[in-house]
């Protein structure tokens, strides 16, 4: 699984500047010299590889990919070259913490990590969706 994960991560990190430009809209991104189609395909392909290897290794883990980017966005004002590594760190910390919590709350029984992340992720998502003027 590891080679796919590394390939996906490199692909996504490589198009960080492109994602910054894309956030301004297609025409502006094109005017800044970015190939919009290439950036989109790279971002989507990288994300696909990452999610595929994650699911293959650990099964379905809900809401990490949904909640973490929004939390990272609140934590810093930097562009994607800051946001992507921070999202990665936050995702890792959250998932390891969720795994521990899942083992502790109903000890000796185990709550799957995917359920624990959903418990954290759903309230975050509800707050984000209810907040007006913010795209999800």
């Amino acid at each position: 699984m590891l080679p796919f994960l590394v390939a996906g991560a490199l692909l996504v990190l490589a198009c960080a500047r492109g994602l910054d430009a894309l956030a301004l809209g297609d025409e502006t991104a094109r005017a800044l010299g970015h190939r919009v189609g290439v950036v989109r395909v790279c971002a989507a392909l990288g994300a696909t590889l990452l999610v595929a290897s994650a699911v293959a290794a650990a099964g379905p883990i809900a809401f990490v990919g949904l909640a973490v980017p929004h939390l990272a966005r609140r934590l810093t004002s930097g562009g994607h070259r800051s946001l992507l590594p921070l999202s990665a760190l936050l995702g890792a910390a959250l998932l390891v913490a969720a795994d521990v919590a899942g083992r502790v709350v109903r000890s000796p029984a185990e709550v799957p990590a995917g359920v624990m992340t959903a418990l954290v992720g759903v309230p975050v998502l509800v707050v984000l969706v209810r907040r007006k003027g913010t795209a999800v």
């Binding site: 991560a9 990452l50 990919g65 004002s77 999202s87 995702g91 083992r103």
Partner: protein, 122 residues
């Protein structure tokens, strides 16, 4: 990207202008690293949280193992808890961290800044 716009700052060593909130590191005349100060602080905090979570993950489970014993097992590769720490908990921690990294990165690359269109059309 969010928050109020700030004026650019003049770089003290070169006299050129840089965006606010950024420090330029020059370990070598040919190398310059642009460091976003706030992001670096957040990253340091998250690394600390990750270390705490990993330590907790190594200690808690069906049997509690104290951090000192976990450290001893990791260092020497043997002892009473060798099987539990090295065969069960450490692989699970590494796997959890890697999967978390993958999901965080994937989520971010499919998500725009607030109020702006999605980079990847769904």
């Amino acid at each position: 990207m969010t928050g109020t716009a700030q004026p650019s700052e003049r770089d003290r060593t070169t006299g050129t202008f840089r965006p606010a909130g950024v420090t330029v590191l020059r370990p070598h005349p040919a190398i310059s690293l642009v460091l976003h100060r706030r992001s670096a602080a957040v990253a340091a905090t998250l690394l600390l949280l990750l270390a705490v979570a990993m330590t907790a993950a190594a200690c808690f489970g069906q049997t509690y193992i104290s951090p000192a014993e976990v450290w001893h097992t990791l260092r020497t590769g043997s002892g009473q808890y060798e099987l539990v720490v090295l065969e069960l908990r450490v692989p699970r921690i590494v796997l959890g961290a890697l999967v978390g990294v993958a999901l965080g990165l994937a989520g971010r690359s499919c998500r725009p800044s607030p109020g702006i269109r999605w980079p990847v059309r769904m």
